[in-house]
């Protein structure tokens, strides 16, 4: 099956929730919609499911227009961010309900529910009521109910966001395996870049109701089309330095200049933004060609295996992500190092001009 969204707008009152969305999804594909909160991810999923109607544009299955077709007549499954189960039904009957409504034979239902529950490790809980389960188990039940029927469109709206860290990682890996075995269209939304990249497949980057970029996850990560995409796609967001390029050198401010060679060669003179990811900034020199920059520490966050040092350079905030524990006092002067070949170059409007070479990205 193929599923396409064409020219979809969604306005509620005076606010625009979605603007000009065009997407085409093929069956068997895994699609991750990445965007911050209020990017319109949930609105888009609801329109895809048929729960809401777009203000303009339409959705089509296999080329057949299904805009406004009741969700009951569509073959979709959806998992919400909140744990939504039928409180009065046991886990078994929760999972079985789509099958029962489809008129499946009792023995088949038992077998199907059993196998899906086993995949999600809730087969020992089938007799319980949802409120007797932990949050993770409740969400597993909701996911099982979505997986049990062969929906051609499987929508998951930030399914793991309300779970604790450990459980999230565990379920994420399981989900990736489960999705890869299905030939339905899977659409998964998340705010977390690492989750999006880990699930892989197609990535759709959304921001303020618009789709900014689509493509294979690795490709989008390697070549973000704009500063905004690059910011959404890494956590902490990509660092951006205001840079002036003349005939021979790029001036990063504070009298620091780098020659235009490598992937910088031949850059037309003008104003640019140079982007560099936090894990490509170091507190110590890694390579003779590294350049040294100076700034003052504003905050040092230590999370155990890594330290995030926040500072301001040339009027813009920067974050250095360094492995290990590094104590830095607030307002302490630090120098940090960056390799010019790691720079992403964006023009003044934020569009990507050059990306680092493949092995450097």
């Amino acid at each position: 099956m193929s599923f396409s969204i064409s020219k979809v707008d969604k306005r509620v009152g005076r606010e625009t929730y979605l603007a000009d969305i065009d997407l085409h999804l093929e069956s068997g594909s895994q699609n991750v919609i990445l965007g911050r909160t209020l990017a319109g991810k949930t609105t888009l999923l609801r329109i895809m499911a048929g729960l809401d109607r777009p203000s303009r544009g339409g959705i089509a299955e296999n080329g057949k227009d299904v805009t406004g077709v009741s969700v009951r007549k569509r073959n979709v499954a959806m998992v919400y961010q909140q744990f939504v189960n039928y409180p009065s039904l046991s886990v078994f009957h929760n999972i079985a309900s789509p099958l029962k409504l489809a008129g499946m034979a009792k023995a088949d239902i038992t077998a199907r529910v059993g196998s899906v529950a086993a995949v999600l490790h809730i087969d020992h809980l089938l007799e319980r009521l949802p409120q007797e389960l932990s949050g993770g188990q409740q969400q597993r039940t909701a996911i099982a109910r979505a997986l049990v029927k062969d929906a051609s469109l499987l929508l998951l709206d930030e399914p793991l966001v309300n779970l604790d860290y450990k459980l999230r990682e565990e379920l994420r890996t399981e989900l990736r395996d489960i999705f890869s075995k299905r030939d339905s269209i899977v659409v998964y939304t998340t705010t977390e870049p690492s989750e999006a990249l880990m699930l892989g497949g197609n990535l759709v980057v959304m921001h303020e109701g618009r789709v900014l970029q689509t493509g294979r996850a690795e490709e989008v990560y390697r070549c973000p089309a704009s500063v905004t995409v690059a910011e959404i796609l890494s956590d902490p967001p990509i660092n951006v330095l205001r840079t002036r390029v003349d005939q021979t050198m790029a001036h990063l401010g504070d009298g620091l200049s780098v020659p235009l060679d490598g992937h910088l060669a031949g850059l037309a003179p003008g104003d640019y933004f140079f982007g560099v990811r936090s894990h490509h900034l170091f507190l110590h020199r890694q390579h003779p060609r590294d350049i040294e920059l100076h700034a003052r520490v504003e905050l040092a966050e230590i999370n155990g295996s890594e330290t995030f040092i926040h500072m301001t350079y040339n009027g813009r905030p920067l974050v250095v992500q360094e492995e290990g524990v590094h104590q830095r006092r607030i307002d302490e002067a630090v120098s940090f190092f960056v390799r010019p070949r790691k720079f992403y170059i964006f023009d003044r409007d934020g569009a990507l001009v050059r990306a680092p070479l493949f092995e450097d990205a």
Binding site: A49, L51, S70, V71, R72, V76, A77, M78, Y80, Q82, V84, Y86, P87, S88, L89, S97, P98, L101, A102, A142, R145, K149
Partner: protein, 267 residues
Amino acid sequence: MKVNGRQIVLLLYLGFLLLPIYWLVNMSFQTTEEILGTFSLVPEKFTLANYRMIFTDSSWYMGYINSIKYVLLNTVISLSVALPAAYAFSRFRFLGDKHMFFWLLTNRMSPPAVFLLPFFNFYQTVGLFDTHIAVALAHCLFNVPLAVWILEGFMSGIPREIDETAFIDGYSFPRFFFTIFIPLVKAGIGVTAFFCFMFSWVELLLARTLTTVNAKPIAATMTRTISAAGMDWGGLAAAGVLTMIPGAIVIWFVRNYMAKGFALGRV
């Protein structure tokens, strides 16, 4: 057990509240002569004659039957009308929804006496006068708005996603409503039924005016006990005790949800 000042105050308050009820129960087990003649904290000559009189005299016990009939009718009508209405108010946005919702409640703000004349005249005309359904319908005027408000509160506490999940799973609306949704708001339905029952049970003015013989409520019977032999105090007291029992039974079932009901389901 240590008794502190706070407990003593509470006990005094409880005694103060219970005194009239105790006195009523006390009187119901006495003969009218004892009630009028002596001051007794417990019945000197314990008698069940008053209760026997009520359960054997059809003009008495029919009062209870009439009351229960129209109260139950009213509760059923109110709930079956209010359930879909409350669902609509809680789930859909439509033109004038908020105004209509508030207008419903304003029906409770006018005194019943205002509606007395129109109801009386109307029922006389259409031949509903002195029937149980007449009283039940008249009481809907107060109970339907209240039921809608209470149920709407309970229903709005149920996440909309449950409805959507059910529709995605393929439930038809009636099937979803009866098998999934109603069980979720059953506490609300219980509380609503209690409030409908209570208001209809204690309402006297409309019930008395709209009936004469066939559907005369117990409260009306109780106001007409003066006979040639004077006032039947014992019988009246026994009738009073019996009037309180149905309410007490209903309260028992919804005791855990009462506070939420008084807050119109919005806690």
